[in-house]
């Protein structure tokens, strides 16, 4: 994707990070390059140990890259210590200073920058209002709840008006309801402040709902960068499809290809057209991915593209998952139905069913 050079807040160029020495060397980041635009809510998403926190720490300056450059508005900041980077971090553990009050915590960064007292006070008051913590400004950080600590950590990191705000799984310690609230709160703060947010999470749902763009990481590499819709609908690799949302994998054989669309034959000799990512040339035995909501059940097996036996029905409130044991064998195929009142057909486990696919439902992916 061509990028305009001046518009990037952060540019990571060929960054490698190796921990340990000799035989114990571990490459936490393996030559990663990514551009993060100004005012963007950018998410680094991946399982634990994928290198997302390492990348964040390199941008913050807590670690230094083994190789490569990190540009902030075009200037290489990789060799600078953290206190010389206009970048602030919201820590997973919040890391609030226990010997200071809420207001002192928020004002700490400005104080260290040597701002005049009046300016600090005004800014702290503004921040307290922004995160709705005015009433508790004189409290010790040990005397406030986890959600409130989270808000103080945010206010503290935003107070010095950083060019980029780094968030290291900041919501992971909160309970479900509070997390939902803070997700909305974070989006609001990002809109109001206009600061570039780089958000690290392993929670794919969080990433999809909050981000402008997502980078999916695995084993020290960035596998795909794109909007949530791109990542979900057009995953570039099997890992991405598997990690984000629920996915069905189906084996098949490529029969023919034309303009980015392959015709794939199932064992049952039924065929389906499936798109594939640019720069990938699928041949022979391939794996198709199909999202559970892009497939449908039909009571008459003869009408389905593929057929199987219903092995399990799982009710989720908003929708129902049907697990189908395919006739050709292999993994269970999952079909998701939204639970609308108008659905006429009810299914029972053990029934023979057919599965139909929506148009563009299937994609061929690199393993």
């Amino acid at each position: 994707m061509p990028e305009q050079p001046g518009k990037n807040a952060i540019e990571v160029r060929g960054v490698r990070k190796v921990f340990g020495t000799g035989e114990n060397q571990v490459a936490a980041l393996d030559t990663v390059s990514v551009s993060i635009r100004e005012n963007e809510f950018f998410t680094l998403l991946g399982p634990s140990g994928c290198g997302k926190t390492t990348l964040l720490r390199l941008i913050a300056g807590f670690d230094f890259p083994t190789a490569g450059e990190i540009l902030l508005h075009g200037q290489d900041i990789a060799p600078l210590p953290p206190y010389k980077r206009p970048v602030n971090t919201v820590f997973q553990s919040y890391a609030l200073f226990p010997h200071m009050t809420v207001a002192q915590n928020i004002g700490f960064g400005l104080e260290m920058l040597g701002k005049p007292k009046a300016e600090i006070e005004a800014r702290v008051a503004q921040m307290l209002k922004l995160v709705k913590m005015e009433a508790l400004k004189a409290r010790r950080t040990s005397q406030i709840s986890g959600g409130q600590q989270q808000r103080v950590a945010l206010a503290r990191a935003l107070a010095p008006q950083p060019k980029v705000l780094l968030l290291d799984e900041p919501l992971s310690a909160l309970d479900y309801k509070l997390r939902k609230e803070m997700q909305i709160e974070l989006k609001r703060l990002q809109n109001e402040t206009g600061i570039t947010f780089i958000f690290v999470t392993h929670d794919q749902e969080e990433a999809l709902t909050m981000s402008d763009r997502i980078a999916v990481m695995s084993a020290g590499k960035i596998l795909q960068v794109g909007t949530p819709r791109d990542i979900y609908d057009r995953p570039a690799e099997r890992f991405v499809a598997d990690f984000i949302g629920e996915t069905n994998f189906l084996p098949g054989t490529v029969v023919s290809k034309q303009a980015g669309v392959a015709t794939v034959k199932f064992a049952s000799s039924a065929t389906i057209s499936a798109g594939y990512p640019e720069g990938f040339n699928p041949t022979g035995e391939v794996t198709l991915v199909v999202r559970p909501e892009h497939a449908d059940l039909v009571p008459d097996p003869a009408k389905g593209t593929i057929t199987g036996t219903l092995s399990n029905i799982v009710y989720f409130g908003t929708d129902t998952h049907y697990h189908v044991k395919l006739d050709g064998g292999g993994e269970n195929f999952i079909v998701r139905h939204q639970n609308s009142r108008s659905r006429a057909v009810t299914y029972e486990t053990g029934a023979k069913v057919g599965i139909q696919f929506e148009e563009d439902a299937a994609r061929v992916l690199k393993d």
Partner: protein
């Protein structure tokens, strides 16, 4: 209903039983502290009472006391009674020894803190597996007696000692530097004896320090120096306070070190008090001196703790 079977009497009986159980467990807990209380009583409170009583008695000619009330011991601390006309004359001799001891103790505490803090910080920032080895190294001096170690210092710093011989052999000096039986020798001995008492509480405080807070401070534009003064030192204050107390109080009452390394010329409070029970044969004076020392330490402690805990609050 099942609750109907629980009549008010059974309920109150259950409550009573529970209350009794709580009471007996509380009594049992109090019993557990009894041995400690007995030891404190016999070896702590009782001697203190005896010292207190003795300080208001008259010295017997060959040691011991005569059972006759007198405040002479306290008067003698600052004044001397003229043998002929019984008038009191101000003599600051004891006061000077007290002040000098305070000075020694303060200098010892400050230097121990300055040396101990980086040491403890170094230990606390090692990988966890290494830390216990460092603690072990710090405690090695305790494996031998303080008297033996002090004598060893004597052999190192005396005129024909290790340092002077080495310097003479190297031609740096042409006659030995006198170090033994000087204030320097006492100071060196005190530092050596008390440094571990500073390092260990500092270490235990720094080891608990959440170094993510240090990262957070760096992230918020604090330089190394600011991180030290605004985060690390305030958060290790409990260790600093404990270390200072553990060094200052025993340093003030040090006996062996000034006796051996000061050669009896440069007295400290401990030696002075010991003298009253030995060659001085003035037990009431010794008791009074000991109590005055204790009072002075308590007053100093009061102000020290009040000031330092205040600073913690202001961050």
């Amino acid at each position: 209903m099942t609750t109907a079977t629980l009549s008010p009497t059974t309920l109150s009986k259950a409550a009573l039983f529970e209350a009794q159980a709580v009471k007996t467990s509380a009594r049992r807990n109090r019993l557990l502290s009894l041995p400690a209380l007995i030891i404190i009583g016999i070896f702590g409170v009782l001697p203190l009472i005896i010292i207190c009583v003795y300080s208001f008695l008259v010295a017997a000619p060959y040691g011991g006391v005569q059972w006759q009330f007198s405040t002479d011991a306290y008067l003698n601390f600052l004044f001397q009674r003229d043998i002929f006309d019984d008038t009191l004359q101000f003599t600051p001799d004891f006061l000077i020894i007290y002040l000098r001891s305070f000075l020694f103790a303060v200098v010892t505490t400050i230097i121990c803190l300055l040396l101990g803090f980086p040491t403890a910080y170094f230990m606390a920032t090692r990988p966890p597996a290494q830390r216990n080895w460092w603690v072990l190294l710090i405690t090695i001096p305790f494996w031998s007696n303080l008297l033996v170690r002090t004598l060893a210092i004597m052999f190192i710093i005396r005129d024909e000692g290790l340092i002077n011989n080495a310097l003479l052999a190297l031609g740096v000096i042409d006659k030995p530097i006198t170090m033994l039986y000087t204030n320097f020798a006492i100071q060196l001995g005190l530092l050596y004896a008390f440094l571990p008492f500073m390092v260990l509480p500092l270490y235990s405080s720094l080891e608990k320090l959440d170094f993510r807070l240090v990262e957070a401070a760096y992230d918020l534009y604090a330089t190394r120096r600011q991180v030290l003064w605004r985060v690390i030192i305030p958060l290790s204050k409990p260790g600093i306070i404990a270390g200072c107390l553990l060094v200052f109080i025993p340093a003030l009452g040090a006996y062996v070190t000034p006796l051996i390394l000061g050669g009896g010329v440069h007295l400290m409070i401990g030696d002075l008090i010991a003298q009253q029970f030995g060659s001085g044969r003035n037990w009431p004076l010794g008791c009074a001196q000991a109590l005055i020392l204790m009072a002075a330490v308590l007053v100093a402690l009061f102000f020290y703790v009040r000031n330092t805990s205040g600073k913690v609050q202001h961050g």
